[in-house]
Subunit: 460 residues, 2 copies
Amino acid sequence: MPDLNLILKKIEPSPEEKTRVENLAKQLIQIINQKAQREGIPAEAILVGSVAKGTRLAGKADVDIFITFPLSCSEGYIKKKGLKLGHHAIKKLGNGYEERYASHPYVTGFINGYEVDFVPCYAITEGRELKSAVDRTVLHTRYITAHLKANQKGEVLLLKRFMQVVGCYGSEFKVGGFPGYLAELLILEYETFMGVLEQAAHEWRPGYQVDLEAYGTASQFNDPLVVVDPVDEKRNVAAALTLQKMAEFVVAASRYLDNPSPDYFFRKDKKIDTKTLKEEFLSRGTVNLVLTSPAPEIPEDALYPQIRKTEHSLMKILKRSGFRVWGSDSVSYQGRILIILELEVNLLPPFKKHYGPQIWNRVHSRSFQEKYHPHCWLEDDTWVALVKRGHTTAESLLKYVISPDGIHHLRTGRHLKDQLINGYQLKALPEFLEEEKPDQKVLAWLYHYLHKDELPGDIY
Amino acid sequence: MPDLNLILKKIEPSPEEKTRVENLAKQLIQIINQKAQREGIPAEAILVGSVAKGTRLAGKADVDIFITFPLSCSEGYIKKKGLKLGHHAIKKLGNGYEERYASHPYVTGFINGYEVDFVPCYAITEGRELKSAVDRTVLHTRYITAHLKANQKGEVLLLKRFMQVVGCYGSEFKVGGFPGYLAELLILEYETFMGVLEQAAHEWRPGYQVDLEAYGTASQFNDPLVVVDPVDEKRNVAAALTLQKMAEFVVAASRYLDNPSPDYFFRKDKKIDTKTLKEEFLSRGTVNLVLTSPAPEIPEDALYPQIRKTEHSLMKILKRSGFRVWGSDSVSYQGRILIILELEVNLLPPFKKHYGPQIWNRVHSRSFQEKYHPHCWLEDDTWVALVKRGHTTAESLLKYVISPDGIHHLRTGRHLKDQLINGYQLKALPEFLEEEKPDQKVLAWLYHYLHKDELPGDIY
């Protein structure tokens, strides 16, 4: 049993770091509020997020400052004035900025080694006043600050860190895991880190419900895990959690309880050897193809749904064409996307069996025969035809699916489509390794594809 | 539109042949009845079957004489005395005999080029008195003789011949098709040959019911086609008809109606060329294996269920082991059985994916992990493991399934088992053709496997 206090010491920010970031936040808020007052802007900056809640892990360099406006202001006004106030603060203390866009525009400043987000939003007091998703963040910060006991902050840190290391942390599309706010709510519900693991390991099932404020709305949601937002009864905080990640967390929890180890809190940076990796792939005897393409320049959270959609559509097309797909994975890295596809065999016969209607549907039965006779026959009362297969190898099929004259059958993303058509490459895995000499991050991604039962390590 | 009367002329026995067989039957009955009277045996021989009903096709050489006893006699008695009377008749006129066994023992005599079956049975007047399946034959003969109009006999002949040529005639296990009595009942129901085809083509569906005597018992049966026996309300005359053969008949009927041709009444004896056949198999790009074995010396109707069971069990084992089976067929011929198995590919990877429990079943989830860790992972909430495949080729798997030390996993027949273990051979189809130089019958069987949409021709 590892000493959780000892672990906590290593994963929580040092008192100096805490003071430093809190002072920085105070300073920035002061700058903004003074400026607003001077200019007669009815805005008030407040600190939100994990810094405000005291649930920030060491090493995380994000500070979230929300600039709140009364509901009477127009959206155009708060955007213009909010961003202006943000820029002002960055100019005073920072050394660079980037304008970004979530459901809402905001500006990020790089200040003393921190990434500080300045987000204009409405000052609301309950969920039903909500105009945009970011408005809710203020309510979340307030709820957690009000309810989380001082001694529970460490529990949150342990849980978040555990989730990170087992690969389940983060609600972004790339992961589909647990958002930080969800981790905090779970600690409110189950008191401690160990309490969450116990419940997850023994009690959770698909559709499991947590409803801290007893709104009674949990049954309205049809998600793997339902945690009703204490500040908005119409929202499931776990909506973005996939069944896969919920299941992975449950398994990790139950393994930790069986065999607690500090490994669950500290990532090991595994050195992957290309030659060993290649041999391991070859020993599976399957066909592994790597498709790469330049990534469009859009935020990760917009890109990942497009990558996954492409990956799943490729799998579906391969399956529909008679190839058995063992698995696949995809990743965006350094301006490229990479998709690995693993197939049972590469070469299929030049013909395939095509199943048709039952003979009792006289109309369809007739047209099936007209189309396929004499290359059709009955299996029990169902028509089957022998038809020429368009592509006997997966490579040939994929080269048709994405070809210079456009895509065929593939469902991909709006931004990804042109990048694929103009810049994709398809290689067998051994060639990919030899020719591209991918770096440790890509090797780790491939290694994790083969070793899903290991802790993911430093690949996220 | 072929002239059905002209066709009928070719398929019905000539007047001379009719007279000859009727006279022979009368003579045999007289011999038996006189002998019975002389010896004080309370038996009466009667002519049954297609000769008695006037529904015999030309060239068929079977005569059925049933030796009926009162219900008061013991089974031992009627067996002993009945067989004795049969032997007596054969001795008088015939040149050889064979004792046989269906659900009941009987003796077959070879007399003037005919095969005459002498079958001891009880004289019953209705179905409920039935002691054995053969007793019913007398009632069937009586029912058809009483109800079939003279001009309908030709309709029965056309229907039977059509069924023969399209490969659907005969209730024996080898075919699983329409028995002669069923063909007769269908003519009683629909009046004419064309009437049967019309109904089959347009109206039949699985579960279709015919109930000539309006017993109202048809819904008790769960067979593809239900024709309540007019002499036994508890029996479905179509019980042995498979869905496959019913469907084939429906398709043949509807094709004949679209495009009537004398081809449906006269088999063409196709000359099959080994080289062409081999090329055709090779061009499919599939893997074709032929398994042969000596056949045990048991009647065909006892052998076929064992062959089919073996064939289906082999397919199931191959499928379960990850091989995609495109099709199979089996036949018994000249003291051997032959099974063809067609597979999509021969070689599979040395590992396979093995699906386990969902993680929510905590007990099974734990034991699955204990067994497979670290070679297991989650797909959504379901466990999957990578396990070594026992056999990477179908040939190696089959050689394990039937090996000199016994059979593994295979469900086969009691009589076939030892023959398989001691005498089976497994060859790829090209080798089989080259090394065994099979005769036209076997070639026709293989040809029909590839050309199921053609009339089966002279292979049954």
